[in-house]
Symmetry: C2
Subunit: 333 residues, 2 copies
């Protein structure tokens, strides 16, 4: 790292308010950071890159960029049932971002980053900065107490499929942020729109939920690319199928005015929700539901390796099959 990069990091990423973990031996500013992990613990690692114009709209404010970059990584720890510990940051920055000089942008970025880090007790221990098109790579490390975590491959036939909260707000927010005006979204109020954009920019990582679930859930994933796509990973890894009951899918409040089919499609295929999707034995569901009333059981794992979607008919007790044209958002697509 060169002198000016070093100074840049020193000034913006050495927050005296930041978390100060007892298991850190050496933090930012040397060739490596050094940690002394707890005895008997396993460690979970995840790395994610967010690129401006790919993973977030180019005019996303620096506070939101920082929040989201860390949150999506915390969400990976959450999906594994791990406890956040340390993170490293690689930041590629142009001279001017979002019409701000670099210093102003960095100040807002680092303030927001450290605020979320404090909330989760995770400490920035190292980094790298480079000049170039805006991109943020974060690697998070967390503790798993001698457990193998909630892996994608653990789903069992007859498991219930549960999501930790409402879906679709972030995908709606992306449409709004990209100004994809469409007749069918005209019913959204100003407040609906604001909530949707907030869901896109400030996703909540379900870390506490992940920690609580990690001895109960058989499998888990965080919903980053859309429920169908991410549930698909669980099904593939576990060698099973699923039946989803669309009427049970909790729809974000900002989708309430849309017709059901449009709302379901957004909730099923839209990315960036960062709710957890997990499976567990039916017997364990009542206790979990009692603790987390916002969780919803939306389907069941089947031996047949298909993903079936159906909805209760509005009249009568029959069910109508649904087909969704695409399985989720593809950053390479």
């Amino acid at each position: 790292m060169s002198r000016s990069e070093f100074q840049l990091i020193q000034s913006y990423f050495s927050d005296p308010q930041q978390v100060s973990r007892p298991d850190l031996i050496l933090g930012i500013g040397d060739d490596c950071a050094i940690v002394a992990p707890r005895e008997q613990a396993h460690l979970a690692f995840s790395i994610d890159t967010l690129i401006s114009g790919v993973h977030f709209p180019q005019d996303t404010p620096p506070d939101a960029v920082a929040y989201k970059a860390l949150a999506v990584n915390l969400s990976d720890l959450a999906a594994m049932g791990a406890e956040p510990a340390w993170f490293t940051l690689s930041l590629t920055l142009p001279d001017i971002t979002h019409d701000m000089p670099r210093e102003q942008w960095l100040e807002k970025f680092s303030k927001s980053l450290f605020s979320l880090a404090r909330e989760h007790g995770i400490q920035l221990i190292g980094g790298d900065t480079t000049k170039g098109p805006l991109a943020i790579t974060i690697q998070v490390s967390g503790y798993l107490d001698k457990s193998r975590g909630m892996q994608r491959s653990g789903a069992k036939v007859n498991d219930l499929i549960v999501v930790t909260g409402a879906l679709g707000a972030a995908a709606m927010g992306l449409k709004i942020a990209l100004q994809q005006h469409d007749e069918q979204y005209a019913c959204l109020s100003q407040q609906d729109k604001q909530q949707a954009v907030k869901a896109l920019n400030y996703p909540l990582a379900r870390v506490a939920e992940g920690l609580n679930l990690h001895n109960i859930a058989h499998s888990a994933i965080d919903i980053s690319d859309g429920l169908l796509s991410d549930l698909g990973h669980i099904l593939t890894a576990s060698g099973v199928g699923a039946e989803l009951a669309l009427e049970k899918i909790p729809l974000a409040a900002s989708l309430a005015c849309l017709d059901k089919k449009t709302a379901w499609e957004i909730a099923l295929t839209g990315g960036d929700d960062y709710q957890l999707c997990f499976t567990l034995a039916e017997d364990d569901w009542p206790d979990v539901k009692a603790q987390y009333p916002n969780f919803s059981a939306i389907g069941v794992i089947t031996a047949q390796k298909d993903l079936h979607l159906s909805a209760a008919e509005t009249q009568g007790s029959g069910r109508q099959e649904y087909k969704i044209p695409t399985r989720g958002y593809d950053h390479f697509g």
Copy 2:
């Protein structure tokens, strides 16, 4: 991660030949990787991003890009005296790189990456791929056996300053790769040029040397931005100064035909050498030198917080002071 990204990673980054470490619980393909660190060990982490056109010329072949991206991170572990264990990779890739379809590029990239990884017993445990301008971020993790490593801040007055090998080849290689033709480089043979470009593209991480030194050296850094710049970090962190004897600096063979002053300037300010620069007590030097004849003591740590450069005069026993216009390569510059 979306379906096609997932398949991309699955196909190119699941090398059956790859290192299979006993301390890995869960590798690529879930929300997190899981490791079970050795008892009583400390862990060292480092993250580095290489961007095409910034950290390597845009026409650098994929084999070299992969090699260098991992080597510069291994070099950070080496500078700390850590033993490589696991790494994660975030790869941002355009559709076409270096006039190759993505698949061909990825095949060469991953083959080279795994080859170097095998050499150092380090295992790829997770990753992220995105479409965009070519950039590679790697985070490495390594073991430090209950030691605090070789930190930049440990240099002591009267320590000798040592480099692990010849300097300047990579900086010369960059001039050649960027076709910066200059009268003064006309003396280089075709072989000199090839060696220089090889030094740029395939830097050797001094991992074994770092491990051997780590109870002897008082401070260390790897030379990524040029000797003066990187030694400067040691001096600043340790609150000391240094005197360097230019005639003792080992110059790369490919600089042999240049006049001394030009060669010194390249060796002192050119980046990408990835030799280690470390300091140790004078008493320990003979044993180290006996083990590593290629190491060179090039100066001494002083209490006065300046960096003095001088060279023995060709006639007589006097010394001539030198000033170097810049302190090193600045990626932000």
